[in-house]
Amino acid sequence: MRLSHLIAALRGLVVKETRHVLRDRQTLVILLLMPLAQVLLYGFAIRTDVRGVQVAVVDPTPDATTRALIQRIDGSARHTVVTVEPTDDALAGAFAAGIIRQAIVLPPHVDRRLARREALAVQVLTDGSDPNAGSAMASYAEAMVRRWHADALVARHGPAVLRAPDAVQIELVTRMRFNPTMESAQLFVPGLIALVLTIVSAMMTAIAITREKELGTMELLLVSPLRPSTIVIGKMVPYAVLGMANVAIVLGAAQLVFHVPIRGSVTLLLLQSALYIVTTLALGLVISTGSRTQRAAMLAALGGLLLPTIMLSGFIFPIDSLPTPLKVVSHIIPARWFLVIVRGIMLKGAGLEVLWQETLILAGLTTLLLAVGIRRLNERLD
């Protein structure tokens, strides 16, 4: 087939597919709005800071000092005090039912002991079923108890009590680079963008191609002199454009609504996004070659991609935390690389000289997926 012929045919195809997509107004709206809605929703909703911990304070002999502690706990945004009967059984039951997640057990006669400068032993029990939240909760509670103790001592005996010769303090001042306020949005929005783009693009392509297979309309195209691979690529073009539109919308929202900065080059970001869109479309293509029905495509795309992308892309759980075999697996998850690139450009202002490895890998993955997809497609349809 002559090249000019091919180009003309391809253009005709693309125009047909684009009209197709534009005519389905409902789906178009969903395709453009849904990713935006999801990024907005979860950008605001997902937080991992410790908040709203229900804590019970076991106080055998309530006095002014212990009341001060309870007030402090209740007043903090992180904790809510829940009243529980001070028996072992009641505590155990409350923990089991999830009514409390922490319990602070005070010794009797706190006031008296403080007055006499006696040692105090306080127990902090934390629900460890979620170890990460548990550690964080324990640290906060401990810190709060220590501060209360120090303040109560000072109130009673004056500030000198704290300056004992054997009390050495090394204070650690921490600064979070690239995200000084540890805004949840900055933590999660780039990951959300990657997640949503991945699933939507892959799903869309997989279903679009499989749909034609299932309903039999593919056959019309197959009778034409074009190779199946050309047909499919022509199909993917409008979706690629839609994907870029999505990227623009979502990045805009990230900046305007969440104030996630774009410290690096916007052009680079857009180019990388374009690359990634092709990656996800290729992924959808590969899925479609393995699926005879739309159900199979949906199961493979949603059922097979959703959880792995959430868990292995670095979206919520850090890649470095993954055990080695899983770290290896994460390398074939395209979203993982895109996330590094997006975070790098947006939060760190990194350029290509820093991100060239990830970019190369992503390009390589894309080429591989395209090659596999097209080869299988030609095999199946011819």
Partner: protein, 374 residues
């Protein structure tokens, strides 16, 4: 009610599912494989972060601090330099995850005031990891303080009354994150497969035209929807059981509470999720539409369920949305019974709520389904 008709429908669905090898593989293999693989993923622990040290003090005291950090297993000191030069690039190139700065006069301050300060800068590109590193560093440095300070103590005069805070973990003393995540993953996987299968089922018949043949028969709407619910309910329970067994054998998840309660809850919960899928299926017109709705719902169910991020941390409006999220309640039941050892008293009300929701959703689907269009 003519149960024969319903039984015939159920049989048909089973035949269709099991006759397609691709579907069988997807329905069973996808959840099990993901459960096996992803359960290992769930941890926030970050080992051996690369640490660069700017030692402006260069005293035995600063060396001790650096030593402590290096030997802690949480950090690996990749370099010690006297100035700040090149730090920015180190962050960008990811040569260092964190940079510790021991300022000039550190040892002097310690000796004189028994108080000194060091600064840590952490690459918070990955915020979760950054938080963990911060906590780890704080703990190591606090420990180091005792050691560093202790070596310089001469005489004990009036000592500060001590505060002994004993922290301990209730449940899960080995801090096994898998015990926390596996139930959540199992719920996720069962829900994903279940919702996808039912939501796509009726729409597919609409698209292929086979639903017309069913619509002209005397089948009532209830019979029809029961015939669609039951096969996937059974499949869902099968997947759940397999997953639970895998979880027990492969990961040793605890079963502190009564396991039959877990199965009963699964049975009730499945009606809700599958019912939602069926409801979607009665409204949507193409499988493409269904796919988007299913994706939207699934993401909503999963991200606002407390599986990956704690719900208590979410803003109030998000918690309100989560209040109608069946996944959240089922995960609560699973964790309460399996990990916390709760029983009927603790999860009964939740189970009842789910049961009510199940009946409600199915009733809605029946009402929504119209054999006659227009």
């Amino acid at each position: 009610m003519a149960w024969r008709a319903v039984r015939a429908l159920v049989r048909k669905e089973f035949v269709q599912v099991f006759r397609d090898p691709a579907t069988v593989v997807q329905v069973f293999a996808i959840p099990v494989i993901q459960l096996l693989i992803l359960s290992n993923a769930a941890t926030f622990d970050v080992p051996r972060a690369k640490l660069l040290v700017i030692d402006e003090d260069r005293t035995p005291a600063s060396a001790q601090i650096i030593q402590r950090l290096d030997g802690s297993g949480r950090f690996t000191v990749v370099g010690v330099q006297p100035t700040e030069a090149g730090i920015e690039q180190a962050f960008l190139d990811r040569e260092a995850r964190a940079v510790l700065r021991v300022p000039h006069g550190f040892a002097r301050d310690l000796a004189r005031d028994r108080r000194a300060r060091v600064a840590l800068a952490v690459d918070a590109e990955d915020g979760a990891a950054a938080g963990i590193l911060q906590t780890a560093a704080q703990a190591i440095i606090a420990d180091a303080a005792r050691e560093v300070g202790g070596s310089e103590v001469t005489a004990l005069t009036v000592s500060m009354p001590t505060l002994d805070v004993r922290g301990s973990q209730w449940f899960n003393p080995t801090r096994n994150y898998k015990h926390f995540m596996v139930p959540g993953l199992l719920v996720s996987l069962t829900s994903i497969i279940g919702l996808l299968l039912t939501s796509q089922n009726i729409v597919r018949e609409k698209e292929l035209g086979t639903i017309e043949q069913l619509n002209v028969t005397p089948l009532t709407r209830t019979q029809f929807l029961l015939g669609k619910l039951l096969p996937f309910w059974i499949l869902g329970l099968a997947i759940f059981t397999i997953g639970l067994t895998v979880g027990k054998l492969a990961f040793g998840i605890p079963t502190r509470g009564p396991v039959p309660l877990v199965f009963m809850s699964a049975a009730i919960y499945l009606v809700v999720v599958l019912g939602i899928g069926l409801f979607i299926s009665t409204i949507a017109r193409t499988q493409q539409q269904v796919m988007f709705v299913a994706f939207f719902l699934l993401l909503l169910f999963l991200l606002l369920s407390g599986i990956f991020t704690p719900l208590e941390s979410a803003p109030v409006w998000a918690q309100r949305i989560a209040a109608v999220n069946p996944v959240k309640y089922f995960v609560f039941i699973m964790r309460t019974v399996l990990v916390r050892g709760g029983g009927l008293a603790e999860v009964g009300p939740t189970m009842a709520g789910l049961a009510l929701a199940g009946v409600g959703v199915m009733a809605l689907a029946v009402r929504q389904y119209d054999k006659r269009s227009g």
